[in-house]
């Protein structure tokens, strides 16, 4: 019961916070004055002067796309370079070596694409400098990229016969300065108050109260506790829907997420900006109901997946009581301080958003409990999704939904007064199909060449679930994992790198193309034949399209993994 109260509290807080933040972001992205302008305005102007641009210099969709791609390419190359040189660079208190080429490439793409898939263990691989200056920077920039592309799409939707989608450099700058940085500073300090560390000290060395022995039988009397600027990184990891943890076990680690309150704040931060951007969208197209409709669809879908996940984990594993335990509740891989409901809620929130941070080990979830996060990723990361990217994905589904309903009544479909024509539908199909193809093809290729099987750490159907989960995660830029899978091998590092890159930038290009095409169209006044897109009917239609596309694509694969495993587990009763 207490668990459910926490879930209700979470949803209430999320919806309450979304509105003011969303309206604020709309002002920021339209270049209006806000209460932060007097404090940060000089920095914004200085940035424009240093880079030689003016926010009034608007770009066409092609020019906007080139800017975004170049900017992200530079980011990926720099992250690659820093990892390769880590061993000789400063601020490396644990004296960690440089990282292999394939792992560096995978991580560079992972952080540039907002996936934040981690093939490595943070505390034992990445120096403080790499964490802060390579990965931390990308946490901001990849999120800013998502907001920029979203805002360009909105400008296309609301534009009247224009080719201008705004200035990419200004959009990136404003997202970081006025949205991501202030929120991150506030959240960091709140997290430190709960015990998340923020220091440049060397790792702490503790004398163990009771000595223990390692697997070779040697006596161990000391515990080394790596420290670092963790809070600042964790704050943006959640707010930017990045998800890359400072430590290997991410927000399950008691220093990365020490208390139930830090857990609530982090879990809220995961969905905060994606939820707020729905309101931003409604405000920017001057019809707030449109934003609320999308937010309602997302909230409904998230709740529909969260509730069964909590039930599955609470009812747990029937084998537990046979082995002499007091209950079947699935505590394996979960932290005592959070409890089962908060862990399961996080699992669905982090996979609904393309966040991918975890506060429990998804690999040890019950088959159905693990199935829900997997489907949420496979739906294309549009249920909240990544910062910016979730909403532009959902808008593509909205276009798909008006198209489907247009087919049913035989009218040219319209969305927000813009006619949806073959070009938009071709691009929308690409956005929806590319991640599906990437996930299924990468899974299939891994199996055919044997690299899939050799990385599985669990036998039977669960092994296949691990593989499918991990490519679902990379192919939708999520970043969470069934972490027993040995992903840090050259094959998966390289294939995963390709998958993550394509699923990010092959979507951004068609999305911007749609923005450009819609912007050039004139607005048609709505008539009695226009399908209103803010009604419960449309919300239901939108949810159905999202679910049907996902289900048709993935149920056959899911049947081989979690569904079979569920039947096997039931059979042991």
């Amino acid at each position: 019961m207490d668990g459910w109260i926490q879930v209700i509290l979470y949803f209430a807080l999320l919806l309450v916070c979304a509105k003011p933040l969303g309206l604020y972001i709309a002002k920021v992205m339209d270049g209006e004055q806000t209460w932060l302008t007097p404090i940060l305005g000089w920095l914004e102007k200085l940035t424009y002067r240093l880079i030689g641009t003016k926010p009034e210099q608007e770009q066409s969709w092609k020019s906007y796309a080139v800017s975004i791609l170049l900017f992200n390419l530079i980011g990926a190359l720099v992250v690659y370079g820093i990892q390769r040189l880590q061993g000789v660079l400063p601020i490396n208190p644990s004296q960690l070596a440089s990282i292999s080429p394939d792992s560096s490439l995978n991580t560079a793409i992972s952080f540039a694409t907002n996936t934040n898939w981690q093939g490595y263990g943070g505390e034992s691989t990445m120096s403080t400098l790499t964490q802060m200056f390579a990965l931390g920077v990308q946490n901001f920039l990849s999120a800013a990229t998502g907001i920029a592309v979203l805002v360009a799409l909105i400008r296309g939707l609301r534009g009247k016969e224009t080719t201008k989608l705004g200035n990419a450099w200004a959009d990136l700058t404003r997202s970081v300065l006025y949205v991501l940085l202030p929120l991150s500073i506030l959240l960091s300090i709140a997290l430190v108050s709960q015990g998340v560390v923020q220091t440049f000290n060397d790792p702490a060395k503790a004398q163990l109260v009771q000595a223990t022995t390692d697997s070779d039988g040697n006596s161990v009397t000391q515990q080394t506790i790596p420290l670092g600027p963790v809070a600042s990184q964790v704050a943006i990891k959640q707010l930017g829907t990045n998800g890359g943890g400072y430590y290997n076990t991410n927000s399950a680690h008691p220093i990365e997420n020490p208390t139930p309150l830090s857990n609530l704040l982090q879990c809220l931060a995961i969905l905060l900006i994606p939820a707020a951007l729905c309101i931003t969208f409604g405000q920017m197209v001057k019809d707030r109901r449109q934003g609320w409709a999308l937010l309602a669809a997302m909230t409904f879908l998230l709740a529909a997946f969260t509730i069964p996940t909590i039930f599955a984990e609470q009812s747990g594993n029937p084998a537990f009581t046979h082995a002499g335990l007091s209950s079947t509740a699935n505590w394996e891989g979960k932290e005592a301080r959070f409890g089962i409901a908060s862990s399961a809620l996080w699992a669905t929130a982090t996979t609904a958003a393309s966040n991918g941070s975890v506060n429990s080990m998804h690999d040890s979830y019950t088959p159905l409990g693990g199935l829900m996060p997997m489907i949420l990723m496979q739906l294309g990361e549009v249920v909240f999704g990544g910062v910016g990217s979730g909403l532009y994905g959902m808008l593509i589904f909205a276009i798909m939904a008006v198209f489907v309903s247009g087919l049913m009544v035989g009218r040219t479909p319209e969305y927000l007064g813009k006619k949806i024509e073959p070009f938009e539908m071709k691009m929308a199909s690409l956005v929806i199909l590319i991640p599906c193809c990437l996930v299924l093809l990468a899974t299939a290729i891994s199996l055919v060449v044997g690299a899939g099987q050799s990385s599985m750490s669990n036998p039977g159907a669960h092994g296949f679930s691990q593989l499918l989960y991990n490519y679902s995660s990379m192919g939708n830029n999520n970043g969470s994992a069934f972490a027993g899978f040995s992903a840090n091998v050259p094959f998966h590092n390289l294939l995963g790198g390709v998958v993550m890159w394509l699923s990010r930038f092959w979507l951004i290009i068609p999305v911007l193309a749609i923005a450009g095409s819609l912007g050039r169209k004139k607005l048609v006044p709505s008539s009695s034949g226009t399908l209103p897109t803010h009604t419960p009917l449309f919300i239901g239609l939108l949810c159905s399209v999202v679910l049907i596309v996902g289900a048709l694509t993935f149920i056959p694969a899911l049947a081989l993994g979690p569904i079979v495993e569920h039947l096997q587990m039931g059979g042991t009763r």
Partner: protein
């Protein structure tokens, strides 16, 4: 080419801002506002660091309360390499049947249950689930109240002290739900064991 130079310059500006200024600013604020937390909530006894409030340690002596099983390697509660077990629900190594020699599979739930029973043969009740399942981080500092109560009789006997005395120490090491509703009520094992050691001095 102008695009490339703009992109490069924006990248440099943003890297300085988010990669240097931001973490240093937060460090400055954190160190001055919440000094102990910012440095790892370390516990110092006689000038020596004995651990952190937040990071669990391995205990298997009957006179100490045991933490949850930890899947870190090469030894349990290795804070330098956090890890869960990542065992799937149908993996035989999770619950554990008998291996070739009729012993429970090492590290499995069955193995843990038999170790707990061996340490306290008089106890006939079932084992609280969290006390026999590995945590997500492998560093969980807490156990449930039920898991602490399960061990009170054993610890009291091993130390030759009154159960009521141990019970009151457990209560002192218990954290209720935060602001009344968040999370689960839990017992910090390291703090509890340190208070036991204080008692015997």
């Amino acid at each position: 080419m102008k695009e490339l130079s703009t992109a490069l310059r924006l990248f440099v500006v943003m890297s300085i801002l988010t990669g240097i200024v931001y973490p240093l600013l937060v460090t400055g604020l954190a160190q001055s506002l919440f000094n102990r937390q910012a440095n790892g909530s370390l516990i110092t006894i006689h000038g020596q660091v004995a651990g952190s409030d937040l990071v669990g340690q391995q205990f298997d002596d009957p006179s100490y309360f045991w933490s949850r099983p930890s899947a870190t390697s090469p030894f349990a509660y290795n804070a330098a390499a956090s890890s869960g077990s990542n065992l799937g629900p149908t993996n035989p190594s999770l619950v554990g049947g008998k291996d070739g020699e009729g012993q429970p599979i090492s590290g499995s739930i069955a193995d843990r249950v038999s170790a707990l029973k061996a340490a306290d043969p008089a106890h006939s009740g079932s084992v609280p689930t969290d006390l026999a399942t590995a945590s997500g981080s492998g560093l969980d500092p807490h156990i449930s109240i039920a898991a602490a109560e399960y061990q009170i009789a054993r610890v009291a006997k091993a130390r030759g002290i009154d159960e009521a005395q141990v019970q009151s120490l457990v209560q002192r090491a218990t954290t209720p739900r935060q602001i009344g509703i968040l999370g689960e009520p839990v017992v910090n094992v390291l703090l509890l064991n340190l208070s036991l050691n204080q008692l015997s001095k």
